[in-house]
C-alpha cells in the first residue's frame, strides 16, 4: 500500500490511448516541482507511452503496478 502524498490523481480508466498520457502531461504542465501525480489507466498503450514520456521529459517514475485490470503509475515532477 502506497503512503505517498499524491498531489493529483488522474483516473483515466476507460480512456483510449493517448488520453491517459495527455492528461498526465496536462497535469504536470500545471504542477510544481516535487508534485506527485497518480495515473490509473486501463489502456495497454500507457504501459509504454507513459514511461517513455517520463524518461524523455526527465521526470521520475516513482511507481508502476498492475491492479485489477488497470495499470497504476505514480510520477514525480522533477524539474
Amino acid at each position: 500500500m502506497s503512503t505517498l502524498q499524491i498531489t493529483k490523481s488522474i483516473d483515466a480508466r476507460g480512456m483510449a490511448c493517448p488520453g491517459p498520457l495527455m492528461n498526465l502531461i496536462g497535469a504536470i504542465r500545471q504542477g510544481q516541482v516535487g508534485d506527485l501525480f497518480e495515473v490509473l489507466s486501463s489502456d495497454a498503450g500507457s504501459k509504454t507511452d507513459i514511461p517513455a514520456w517520463v524518461a524523455k521529459a526527465k521526470h521520475e517514475l516513482v511507481e508502476v503496478r498492475e491492479d485489477n485490470g488497470f495499470a497504476h503509475f505514480i510520477v514525480r515532477k522533477a524539474r
Binding site: 483515466a12 476507460g14 480512456m15 483510449a16 490511448c17 493517448p18 488520453g19 498520457l21 495527455m22 502531461i25 496536462g26 504536470i28 504542465r29 500545471q30 498503450g45 507511452d49 517513455a52 514520456w53 524523455k56 521529459a57 526527465k58 524539474r79
Partner: protein
C-alpha cells in the same frame, strides 16, 4: 404552456440542435438560439485559408440563413448561467429563462498562456489563418516549425494536415528546397492514433517533413526565434505556427459549470450535465474523452436534440445515445486524403490515402451549408 428551449452557440452543434428540436416539437416549445456574432463560420476551412486555397467569405454565412423560421436568433453573449434558477444572463443585461438548455459554446484559444507565444502564428481563428497566409506569401526561405502548445485542441489531424498542405504550398511556389518544415508532436508519433500515425509517418518522411516526437511546446523566445518544450528541448525557427492552448468559454468558468479549464462534465452517452438537470452540452465545450471537432458536435447533436425534444414532450428519453462516433478527413497533400473514423468501442482503421477521399472532403466542405446545419446528414 409552451416550454422554452435555449441554445447557446450557433456553431455546427447548436445550429443542428436548434433545427431538429424545432422541427420535432413544433408549437410545444419556443426555441431560441443565442450566438455572439450571428454569423456561422465553417472552421475546418481555416487550414485552406492559411495556404491560400480558400477565401474567408466562402466560410461565412448569416446564421439566419441556416435556421428554421421558427427558431429565434438572439445575437448576444451569455455571461452567466444560473442552473438552479434556470436562467441565463446576457451581456446586454437581458435575462432568459429556460426549461431545457443546450450549451454548445465551443472552445476558445489562449495563445497568450504560452510565455513568449503571443506573436506566433496559428490557423485556429479566421484572423489567425489570414495573418498566417500573409506571412507565408512573403516567406522565401528558412525553417517553418509547427508545434502544439496545449492539449486538448480542436481537430487532432490539423497539425499533420497543415504540414502536408504547407509542403504543397511551398512546392507550388518553387521554394520548397530552400525551406525546412518541422513538425513537433506532443506524442512519440505524428498523430494521436497509432494506426493512423503509421500511415502518415512514411509520407511525412517522403515529403522531407521532419518529425520530432514528445515535444510539448512550453515557451517561445521571439527574439532568439526559438521554441522550447516541456521535455527540455529547444528548436530554432524562422516562422512559427502553433496550435494554441484551448479552454472552455468564459461563461462556463464564470458560472462554475466546468472543470479548471472550463470543460463541462457531461455523461459521455447522454451528454447531460453530470450535476445539473435540464442542461446538455455538446461539441468542444464538454470534457468527454474524445476529439474536439465539428464531427463530434455533428454526431452528438442528433442525440441531444432527441433527448431535449423528449423532455419537452414529457416522454421517456430515447434509447439511442452517443456512442463516440467520429469521422474526420485527413489531407495528406498532393490531392490525396485519408479518413479517421471510430467510436468509443472501435479504434480507427484509416484507408490508404487516395484522390477519392480528398474529393470526398472537398464535396463535404461544399455541401456542408445545405446539409449539416439542417440536420439532413
Amino acid at each position: 404552456m409552451r416550454n422554452d428551449v435555449l441554445i447557446l452557440g450557433g456553431g455546427v452543434g447548436g445550429t443542428i440542435v436548434a433545427n431538429l428540436v424545432s422541427k420535432e416539437v413544433g408549437d410545444r416549445a419556443r426555441v431560441t438560439l443565442v450566438d455572439t456574432t450571428g454569423t456561422h463560420v465553417y472552421q475546418p476551412g481555416f487550414l485552406y485559408v492559411a495556404v491560400g486555397r480558400e477565401k474567408p467569405a466562402a466560410l461565412r454565412r448569416p446564421e439566419t440563413s441556416l435556421i428554421r423560421e421558427e427558431v429565434k436568433l438572439v445575437v448576444d453573449e451569455a455571461t452567466l448561467i444560473d442552473p438552479k434558477a434556470q436562467k441565463v444572463i446576457l451581456k446586454t443585461g437581458r435575462t432568459m429563462r429556460y426549461d431545457e438548455l443546450l450549451i454548445a459554446t465551443g472552445s476558445r484559444t489562449v495563445l497568450d498562456e504560452v510565455p513568449g507565444g503571443a506573436g506566433a502564428h496559428d490557423f485556429y481563428t479566421m484572423d489567425g489563418a489570414q495573418r498566417l497566409h500573409r506571412a507565408l506569401e512573403v516567406f522565401v526561405a528558412g525553417t517553418i516549425v509547427i508545434g502544439v502548445a496545449g492539449i486538448p485542441y480542436k481537430c487532432p489531424p490539423a497539425p499533420v494536415e497543415f504540414a502536408f498542405l504547407l509542403d504543397d504550398y511551398l512546392r507550388s511556389r518553387h521554394i520548397r528546397e530552400r525551406c525546412q518544415v518541422k513538425l513537433l508532436s506532443p506524442l512519440n508519433r505524428a498523430f494521436t492514433i497509432e494506426t493512423t500515425s503509421k500511415l502518415v509517418q512514411p509520407i511525412l518522411a517522403e515529403r522531407g517533413i521532419e518529425l520530432t516526437g514528445f515535444f510539448n511546446v512550453e515557451s517561445v523566445d521571439p527574439i532568439a526565434k526559438t521554441v522550447t518544450s516541456l521535455e527540455g528541448e529547444t528548436v530554432d525557427y524562422d516562422l512559427l505556427v502553433l496550435v494554441p492552448p484551448h479552454r472552455g468559454q468564459k461563461v462556463i468558468e464564470a458560472s462554475r459549470l466546468g472543470d479548471e479549464r472550463g470543460w463541462i462534465p457531461v455523461d459521455k452517452n447522454t451528454l447531460m450535465h453530470t450535476q445539473f438537470d435540464h442542461i446538455w452540452a455538446i461539441g468542444d465545450a464538454t470534457n468527454i474523452p474524445i476529439s474536439k471537432s465539428g464531427s463530434v458536435a455533428h454526431y452528438e447533436a442528433s442525440v441531444a436534440a432527441a433527448e431535449i425534444a423528449a423532455a419537452v414532450k414529457g416522454e421517456a428519453p430515447p434509447v439511442h445515445v452517443y456512442d463516440g462516433k467520429v469521422m474526420c478527413f485527413l489531407e495528406t497533400g498532393r490531392g490525396q486524403a485519408t479518413t479517421v473514423s471510430f467510436d468509443y468501442d472501435h479504434p480507427p482503421v484509416s484507408p490508404a490515402p487516395s484522390v477519392f477521399w480528398h474529393w470526398a472532403k472537398v464535396l463535404f466542405n461544399k455541401s456542408y451549408w445545405h446539409t449539416v446545419p439542417q440536420g439532413r446528414l
